[in-house]
Symmetry: C2
Amino acid sequence: MSLDTLPALDRRTALVSAFTVPKGFGDQTLRERRADAIELLGGIPDPSVLPAGELAEATARVLAQPGLPALQYSRTEGIPALREWIAAREGVPVSRIVVTNGGFHGLALAIQTTVERGDLVAVDNPIFPLFLRGLELSAAHTLPVRVGAHGLDVDEFGALLRDGARPAALYTVPDFHNPTQGSLSLEGRRELVRLAEHYGFVIFADNPYRELRFAGPGPDEEPFNHSEHVIHVNTFTKTLGPGLRLGWLVLPERLVPDVIALRSRQDSHSSTFVQAVVADLLTQDRGLFDATLDRARALYASRARTLAEAIEREAPGAFDVVVPEGGLFLWPRLRDADVDPDRLADDASAEGVEYQRGSFFPSGPGTDAARHLRLAFGDTGEDLLTEAAARLGRALRRQRG
Amino acid sequence: MSLDTLPALDRRTALVSAFTVPKGFGDQTLRERRADAIELLGGIPDPSVLPAGELAEATARVLAQPGLPALQYSRTEGIPALREWIAAREGVPVSRIVVTNGGFHGLALAIQTTVERGDLVAVDNPIFPLFLRGLELSAAHTLPVRVGAHGLDVDEFGALLRDGARPAALYTVPDFHNPTQGSLSLEGRRELVRLAEHYGFVIFADNPYRELRFAGPGPDEEPFNHSEHVIHVNTFTKTLGPGLRLGWLVLPERLVPDVIALRSRQDSHSSTFVQAVVADLLTQDRGLFDATLDRARALYASRARTLAEAIEREAPGAFDVVVPEGGLFLWPRLRDADVDPDRLADDASAEGVEYQRGSFFPSGPGTDAARHLRLAFGDTGEDLLTEAAARLGRALRRQRG
């Protein structure tokens, strides 16, 4: 045996070798925050509307329980108290609920259980771009489907299917779409489910923003909870805090054993501690969650309006701005074709305001996303939003004179 | 288009289709607890030595911080305060630490990043059987390697390598081996690292029990933290509580980006909340972790001794019982070849004591594991351990008359 005949250690699986380096959206999301800038980068809930005191009280209660069940192993699908609360809110049997470590984790589990390597997956265009990174778990090909003012263009998707496209899955954000902010109508959802059942694909309905509707109740019916062809991906991220890492899937019964089998080979189960604290929070005071949402909705509605008005004031006529009906983003569109959106983003950064440029969001050709700006207003106070609009106006005047 | 020509929905990936149904160990671990039996089934820490009150206080502190960083997104590799504490304790640079959702999650990440489908993986024999389930993530083949009284038989493994075996990885529990309870010597570890560096494989050193040494300090040196060929898998599960789902990997620098890339496509990061609470707990009072361990070690040492003595008293001469130097298990061996260990387990269950039968643990032929019982004493008080031994004695007398 001689050492020099032996292989150097370069073991990496094909899985990880195929991962692409984050660029664009990912780069900006992952970098350290700039203390000297107003950052409108991420869909981050405001600390003032997260129930911190109530979480601390819930923690004290669960850590006083005899035998400390919150610190022990628990079942892969989640603890009963939390699954029961979720199932009641979703209007589905408890058996269909699997607790996850947040919405993105739910998507990853959906991909790994239903998308075979090389499969075709239809996706929003423009799209929440981190989904494409998750899709690298299955090395899938993508079929971009246009997203319009009311979410996914179901008619166009239907035409693609009739023309022979045979995706294994479709990914869409149905409520307060990220980034375009539209919501799919009830009839659009029903039609999408009909297509899924007819053509035999799975819908990944990714719904982090659904509870952040600024006014009025949501639809009474959620077609995505009542089909064997939908994985409904939900999370407490935007309502109780991203740092909890707690979400859930509403699954078709037939997929529950596969998702549990996969998780039992990956990370066993979500933190019993986090689940127990949140379950206590939700059940100790049955009105607390909705009261928390009401405060959050009012705050975000006001911020959305303030930012939209400030943009119109600071850059009159420069943007088409639609105040969304919910969620955490504005998606203004540059009206003047002579303005270079990349130069605008660079100038805005120099002026001290950071946002995600629209060019990070297309999943294919045919969108005007690059003419848009994604402005996240969730965790920025109104004075700073107004100042951000002023800086954006200054950045724009660097080009328009 | 007619509906009857379209495929039924049976999409399942090859990955999940290949998962085997849990049997033996998994069945018993996953089932509901029996209220009428003394259960010596799992390596479960005792609630009395988990720092529940201190965790509640830490939670109150982190949820009083301005901006609530504990409820926000954080970096995939873990929060700085926690990584720094871990790195100092391990004696490695912070850059090599990636926080995980517990030890099993660390193993799953190691498998997915370094074991290619169809690779050969050398494993303990007998083995912690859930590792074999995790290995289904990579559909690996296994090469069983004998485990003796002092952990993995490194000499036998070296002979297998010299004879041409070329594993991609080796899995072993080096401290207080599960189930056999031996610990690998310092020289054994060094030799194992030399073999890994020579033959170009990765060691998965799975170390959940290392802090539960009943007496005396551990070795000053940990060879597993100082090689490019070792992934050292650690967890707070047995010390602060399984329900936190919090652990860490000590990784070779070259593997850090791959593990982060994989996690950023699976579940983004471990709960910031859990990380912040534990980091606060560990750093607010720098002596608390070791004081917690001291209480746990004394409790488990006493329970191990009590159970061993009770077995000898209730079934004199029936078992070879070695009181372990740490960990949460006794691994007694039936001396009388005429006793059927499966019938003994059934009779013990009928008498009201449940344990894991040794036949669940071999990873290949050539062990006497089936003649052993794995008795977990962590979460059972001494009166009940004594009663469990009496029930085991009665079960044994059903066969021996």
